[in-house]
């Protein structure tokens, strides 16, 4: 199976008053063709920054510091802006959390969907309109022809997200990055959108799904990367990860979710809060909150170690435990 996206040792950050804050630290990940790869983490862990780095959409003054991003074998880091722009939309595209703010409120939906074709291909207006109706129907917008004439505010949240997906998919990109695509949606609509994403991936598109919701990840993904404080701390096949989480952070997250099953007992928690980027602890980023922390953990950052089955983990105590 071909890898659509390969990110190798990516570092990205932005300057602050106290020097450069490294928001994405030595991140490597791959998205194969037709698979859905999950990137889980909490706010400020660097998952959105990773996505923006791939798209070449990091906001100034942030920048990619080092590393390489290969889209279907082509290096994106250092690629001239013009070439990268040609790839956006046609080869890779992205959908965002809030479908209301990512659509232009004063432009009809149809025109916004067509825009990508008009920019990237030389087609007639009728052809562009025909194809936009086609893609809207495909992503499950009922009465697509009529909806093309609506403005975004006339559509419900679920429909807006479908329109966003249609815009992203209209040129048939090989890679789709979905940044919290269902967070702003209601449960019943969320389930519909998740179903749609499954259909897209079975059509061959590689999807990088970014989410903080382990439920969404478990429902959708084939492979999962867990991110904390700018680093990948664990990576495994989805079944493997949910059956045998190795990193204390992953375990903590899973316990937090799984203990919510009614009964009103005291819930499992992870003590403390996510560290601030400018005040990162020395050593392992999770060590101040970790129940299994040892002296070495606060000294330096452990490496990613393969524990078999392609299950990678970045944690000393976990390595030791497995060895026993």
């Amino acid at each position: 199976m071909r890898n659509i996206l390969e990110v190798r040792h990516l570092c990205a950050g932005f300057p602050t008053l106290k020097g450069e804050a490294v928001a994405v630290n030595d991140v490597s990940l791959t998205v194969p063709e037709g698979k859905i790869v999950g990137l889980v983490g909490e706010s400020g862990c660097g998952k959105s920054m990773t996505a923006r780095a791939v798209m070449g959409l990091i906001r100034y003054p942030g920048r990619v510091i080092s590393g390489s991003i290969l889209l279907d074998g082509r290096e994106l880091v250092g690629m001239p802006k013009k070439e990268k722009r040609a790839l956006r939309g046609s080869e890779m595209s992205m959908i965002f959390q809030e479908p209301m703010t990512s659509l232009n409120p004063v432009m009809k939906v149809g025109r916004q969907v067509e825009e990508a074709i008009r920019i990237h291909e030389k087609v007639t207006a009728e052809e562009a309109a025909r194809r936009s109706v086609e893609i809207l129907t495909k992503v499950g917008v009922p009465e697509a022809k009529k909806r093309c004439l609506c403005y975004p505010h006339q559509l419900s949240g679920g429909l807006r997200q479908r329109v966003m997906i249609a815009m992203a998919m209209i040129l048939g990109p090989r890679l789709l990055i979905a940044d919290e695509p269902t967070t702003a949606l209601d449960v019943t609509v969320e389930a519909q959108i998740l179903q749609l994403m499954r259909t897209l991936s079975s059509g061959g598109t590689g999807i990088l799904l970014i989410s903080h919701d382990l439920g969404v990840i478990a429902q959708l993904c084939d492979h999962v990367y867990v991110m904390y404080a700018g680093r990948i701390v664990e990576s495994a096949d989805v079944n493997e990860l949910f059956d045998r989480p190795l990193h204390p952070y992953t375990r903590g997250l899973l316990n937090s979710v799984r203990s919510l099953r009614g009964g009103g007992d005291v819930l499992d928690t992870i003590p403390g809060a996510v560290p601030n980027l400018t005040r990162m602890p020395a050593g392992c980023g999770f060590s101040p909150r970790c129940p299994e922390r040892c002296d070495e953990c606060v000294m330096d950052v452990p490496g990613l170690v393969d524990m078999g089955n392609g299950h990678l983990v970045r944690c000393r105590p976990a390595e030791g435990e497995e060895a026993k």
């Binding site: 419900s156 609509v189 519909q192 179903q195 919701d213 989805v238 919510l260 009614g262 819930l267 809060a273």
Partner: protein
Amino acid sequence: MSGFLLEGKDLTKEFPAGGNKTVHAVSNVSLGLNEGETLGLVGESGCGKSTLGRMMIRALKPTSGEVFFRGRSLTAMSDREFAAVRRRFQMIFQDPYASLNPRMTVRSLIAEPLETHRICSGKKETTEKVLELMDAVGVPGDFLYRYPHQFSGGQRQRIGIARAIAQSPEVIVCDEPVSALDVSVRNQILNLLSDLRKTRGLTYLFISHDLSVVRHISDRVCVMFLGKICESGPTEEIWSSPAHPYTSFLLRAVPKADPKRRTDASALLTGEIPSPIDPPAGCRFHTRCPYAGKICAQEEPPLRTWGERTVACHFPLNR
């Protein structure tokens, strides 16, 4: 059906929506809170759960209907009479970034209810009490003169909670109190809320769209759809045998954190939530309901009650 600590009867709220249109946010809803319990109010966005929550503590005036607190009508009280019982009610908000004034220190934020209700005499006593409250919610006392933006989301929500319990209220409306928080912090706040309920004898009206959170914290649950309560009853009973089709779909749609139990397409509701400006006639859910019959489009379903449960459906499930 008396003996409720706080009871809303036939509450209706309509907002003008420009032109001659009205938003029917809440229509003829009744609900009651027993002393010391947590009542969960679940529903999707725009179903009127926040509006209902605010009406229950007179933060919003209902278009019609009445609210009773210990048998006395809150809605019939004059502003002056209400001022005397206002202390009994508080609210915790969803967004700990927006619900704390950015230009006030933690001390003045938490002290505001104390000063408003003249609970402490003198500055020193107030500061002491504020420190006590900060301790109770787990915010270190040396952050007394910090500003809200210097805290993480979880800490801020703790400050919001300290503020809410400062005046020793009896009923707290929690409006999506953990929705804006990270997973790893969310449970800390839920535990804190449970603890405070036990130690301070609080009664919660817990509004959330997150079903697993509601399941954990609530003794009883009301499920709302488009301005109406479609089902209510003890939490575990509803989870094990939902009677309203909407409840059943809602429960099945929650993405489970288990890759071996993926939701199949058959469990999905089709379509979108109708607009509250022009709600469907009859049962408001009938446009999306696969079990709907002819009668559903014509007649509003009556409330059926058995045991502690009620359901508003012509064809309830699991009965």
